[in-house]
């Protein structure tokens, strides 16, 4: 009795607005035959007239959705169980007049039918129907061109629902087409978009200006920009942005995906393109319209001299864009991630007037994106989004959503093991960070898997650690302090010192502590038998590193990789050319426009949207500006002097061979995993190992362990001090005093 099962409506009841109930329920609610009743369903409610079921059975409900709230139009509720509280009797009124909007099937009818006819038809269709203010009446059962009637207002004032009789006045406020109406409906449930406010504001402005102020624009003699080219790497949300803006403005969207247009027969592609343009034009008669060309580069590549079929498509698009009248009120938006491969003729004003570059998001934007993504996830309050945003340098929107999904999956897996409350915590995000890497780094040659090395693993060298932390970690952690003192992030660090003194390990530790992208190159990656290939690879590496800045680019053994120009054998060797690339990339004239970070779009109409303060922008600059080049060498004299000037490798750090304390720390670090006998005196060893490098010391410990195994025939349980002493006598230091002297006297 309390719960009612919702069944599909009987075919003969379709269009009758009846709601079939059991007589018991009807009398419980005080309903007579044909009394109006409001049924609230998930997603909306519908107004019906109560009627007993012909078999008088209780516990079921069949409602004909003739007059429903707009939310229920697209969905058809079924298999639901309602309770009695979801039915409310509505007082019966007779309406004096109603004000409605008519929704028709197509534009043709809208143009041809006289208002008198529409009025007459609508009135006859509505007689006998119960209306509710703000609801939509479905007229599909009449099988005519009229599809819906949207009830804008009903009179007498104060009533919310009532019956239309033959004496009710009907006032038609407007006529719309179904497509337009549906696109408006979708507007109401949309997903927010993070971090792209500026671009979307610019787009919105371009769409709305001609609609809001047509007269002003005409009197100024302005023609509105009608073409926008969105440029950005994959995954930054170009397509999503267009869809969102279109929904916000309430415009209709005509989408063309490049490959869909191309046909196999000659002339077919052009024809499809023309027909799509015609479709956009007819949609534009109805209201604002956006014509969206996704992946434009596949449709309009650079024209070649041969008579390729693409040439004709490009020509067709050009003529179509030129042939747009001033009265065609539609905006062409195209998106591409390879702007250089577009035909240059497309990119002149008059065709794509504006180019909007959407770069990979800055940390502020990443935070916004994350907060949007996490809005619907049960995220633990301990999750610090700004820290997460900092750690996801180089991630674009798509990567971030993959990250959140992965984190949620981790939480889910954990929960299936042990039942607990389901929230996504920071540890899940950390797990996800290991799995999801930024898409701009996928397939990059310098991408290295590195096992995190904590600073503590490196014994001694406190001063050098501090310097590295200063130049790598501080700009990330304390951007405001850097801005306050007018500092910018250092461009590069050169570590030099004798071999085996932990230069590479230091860089690893720096990379793992700063959580930024780490790219490492060796000679094998760069060299190629083709002329110019190595240089291209290096430039490409820098481009990728910039795309996911802040990042660390590590050039190990830079002396052999790049070399020096002075005293070189051949002036035009590969090394010299690589050097010139490196010099340019590190301190060149500027960046390509396509590589711009974030968006710097200045709005034309409203300048008041400058919400962010200058300081925040500056902080972002410090965080995101550059690629940090870290180079390591043990032959600093072989490096070209142009590389060593401030502005390129500004910090030149000498990594000395370990002193006694450092050696003790190294020995301790090396023997942590070894079972060392109690009599071993590491401090004594440290005192005696003058001029031993870190690698030597590690080798010493290994040797001692092997000797212990040799003596006790694979059953050794501990390493004694004598083993250490014996291995010590066998070894000699790899560094010589003279070598160290040359480093110290080195002029840098």
């Amino acid at each position: 009795m309390e719960s009612l099962k919702l069944l599909p409506v009987h075919p003969s009841d379709r269009g009758s607005q009846r709601c079939r109930l059991g007589p018991g329920v009807m009398s419980a609610l005080g309903l007579g035959l044909g009394s109006p009743v409001l049924v609230s369903l998930p997603g909306g409610s519908c107004l019906c007239t109560a009627w007993p079921r012909s078999d008088l059975a209780e516990g079921f409900l069949q409602a004909d959705l003739k007059c429903v709230s707009p939310g229920l139009l697209s969905q058809n509720p079924a298999h639901l169980t309602l309770d009695l509280g979801q039915l409310t009797a509505v007082p019966a009124h007779r309406l004096k007049s109603v004000r409605i909007t008519v929704v028709v099937q197509n534009v043709d009818f809208k143009k041809r039918a006289s208002p008198r006819l529409v009025h007459e038809l609508v009135k006859e269709m509505l007689v006998g129907v119960q209306l509710h203010k703000g609801f939509v009446v479905n007229l599909e059962d009449f099988d005519t061109e009229l599809v819906y009637v949207v009830v804008e207002n009903i009179y007498p004032e104060g009533t919310t629902a009532g019956l239309v009789t033959s004496r009710t006045g009907v006032d038609i406020a407007g006529i719309q087409t179904v497509r337009h109406y549906r696109s408006q409906l979708q507007d109401q449930h949309r997903e927010p978009l993070g971090g792209l406010e500026e671009v979307s504001a610019a787009l919105r402005e371009m769409l709305q200006l001609p609609l809001l102020y047509p007269n002003t624009l005409r009197s100024l003699g302005l023609s509105c920009p009608r073409g926008v080219l969105l440029v950005g790497p994959p995954g930054v949300g170009k397509t999503l942005l267009v869809r969102r803006v279109v929904l916000e403005v309430g415009a209709s969207l005509v989408v063309v995906k490049g490959p869909e247009v191309v046909g196999s027969r000659p002339g077919e592609s052009e024809e499809t393109l023309r027909s799509v343009f015609a479709r956009a034009r007819s949609a534009a008669e109805d209201g604002p319209c956006v014509f969206f060309l996704d992946e434009l580069d596949s449709l309009c590549p650079r024209r070649s001299s041969s008579s390729a079929p693409e040439n004709r498509v490009v020509a067709q698009l050009l003529t179509l864009m030129d042939g747009m009248n001033r009265s065609d009120r539609f905006l062409i938006v195209a998106a591409t991630n390879r702007p250089d491969s577009l035909d240059p003729a497309l990119r002149r004003p008059g065709r794509f007037d504006r180019e909007v570059i959407i770069g990979p998001p800055t940390s502020q934007q990443r935070k916004e994106i994350l907060s949007v993504l996490c809005e619907r996830m049960p995220v633990c309050p301990s999750v610090d989004l700004s820290e997460l945003a900092q750690r996801t340098a180089g991630y674009v929107g798509a990567d971030l959503s993959a990250l959140c999904r992965e984190a949620a999956l981790h939480a889910l897996r954990e929960r299936s093991k042990e039942s607990g409350e389901q929230t996504v915590g920071m540890k899940h995000f950390e797990e996800a960070l290991k799995v999801v890497c930024p898409s701009c780094l996928r397939g990059s040659l310098g991408r290295t898997e590195l096992s995190p090395v904590p600073w503590e693993r490196i014994g001694g060298l406190e001063e050098i650690k501090l310097k590295l932390i200063q130049s790598i970690e501080w700009p990330m952690r304390y951007p405001e302090a850097f801005v306050r003192l007018g500092l910018s992030r250092p461009r590069g660090v050169l570590l030099y010192g004798p071999p085996g003194c932990a230069k590479t390990t230091l860089v690893k530790a720096a990379a793992s502590s700063s959580h930024c992208a780490f790219l490492s190159v060796s000679g094998a990656d760069l060299y190629s038998p083709y002329v110019g290939d190595s240089e291209k690879t290096l430039a490409q590496l820098f481009r990728q590193a910039r795309a996911c800045a802040p990042s660390i680019l590590f050039l190990d053994e830079i002396d052999s990789l790049i070399g020096s120009r002075s005293g070189c054998q051949t002036p035009n060797s590969v090394q010299a050319r690589l050097l010139s690339v490196l010099l340019n990339e590190m301190d060149g004239v500027g960046l390509k426009t396509v590589e711009r970070r974030g968006t710097e779009q200045v709005l034309q109409a409203d300048g008041g949207e400058e919400s962010r303060t200058q300081e925040q922008l500056d902080c972002q600059e410090v965080c995101n500006k550059d690629v940090m080049v870290v180079a390591a060498t043990n032959r600093p004299d072989c490096i070209d002097s142009a590389l060593l000037r401030p502005g390129r490798l500004d910090h030149i750090i000498y990594v000395p061979p370990p002193d006694q304390q450092a050696r003790l720390a190294i020995l301790k670090a090396c023997t942590t995993s070894m079972p060392v006998a109690a009599d071993v005196r590491l401090d004594e060893l440290a005192a005696n190992t003058e001029r031993y490098s870190g690698a030597d010391l590690e080798n010493l410990c290994k040797e001692a362990a092997l000797l212990a195994l040799l003596d006790e025939n694979m059953e050794a349980t501990s390493i004694k001090h004598t083993d250490f002493l014996r291995s010590f006598t066998k070894m000699s230091p790899s560094l010589t005093a003279q070598q160290i002297q040359t480093y110290l006297s080195s002029p840098r």
Partner: protein, 202 residues
């Protein structure tokens, strides 16, 4: 009190069903009159299309002066006449529909006036010879909706017909025929059968 209300309602229902019965016969008759008119309309449209396609100067008929214009005038006149007659038929359809609508709304109003006295048990009570009041009201509403729908569909069709859109005119007889819904007609006949005992019980 409720007995009184019920019997008056029953009388009204009987009257309405009687009117539905006669209306249905009239309706079908008018529709039957319409279909030859529609067919001739289609014929005329076909002739007009043929006239548009033919080059009279290439035929032996070229000796007649102004033949094409005269023929077109004649055809248009004929189309006009037929359309006028169809519109006349439409107005008789409309009057039939109005009769039914009035009857049904009168019965409903009568029920609503007496709704206080007629509880749900009374209106849903049925016997071997008398269907329940709820059922009968439902049938009446269904019949009325059917007439209204049919009339509206045909009216929209006629409104969309213009003398200059010949292809639409040519297709008109087919479209007209497709608007008929035999199932709904059957349902009305069924309903009339179901209430036949009740009708005779007066």
């Amino acid at each position: 009190m409720s007995k009184l209300a019920l019997s008056s309602l029953h009388q009204a229902l009987q009257r309405s069903f009687a009117s539905v019965d006669s209306s249905q016969k009239l309706w079908l008759g008018v529709l039957a009159d319409c279909s030859p008119l529609m067919v001739s309309l289609g014929n005329l449209a076909e002739q007009a299309i043929a006239l548009n396609n033919v080059q009279l100067s290439n035929t032996p008929l070229r000796d007649f002066p102004d033949l094409e214009d005269r023929l077109r005038f004649k055809l248009l006149q004929a189309i006009d006449t037929v359309l006028n007659r169809i519109h006349e038929k439409m107005s008789s359809l409309q009057s039939i529909r109005d009769t039914v609508t009035n009857q049904v709304s009168a019965v409903l109003r009568l029920y609503q006036q007496n709704a206080e006295d007629l509880d749900l048990h009374t209106v849903t009570q049925r016997s071997a010879v008398t269907p329940s009041v709820a059922d009968m009201l439902e049938w009446l509403q269904d019949a009325e909706r059917h007439y209204r729908q049919q009339f509206l569909k045909r009216k929209t069709l006629l409104h969309m017909l213009k003398a200059d859109d010949l292809s639409l005119l040519e297709a008109a007889p087919k479209t007209w025929k497709s608007l008929e819904s035999p199932s709904a007609n059957e349902q009305i006949t069924d309903t009339l059968c179901k209430v036949s005992f009740f009708m005779e019980s007066r």
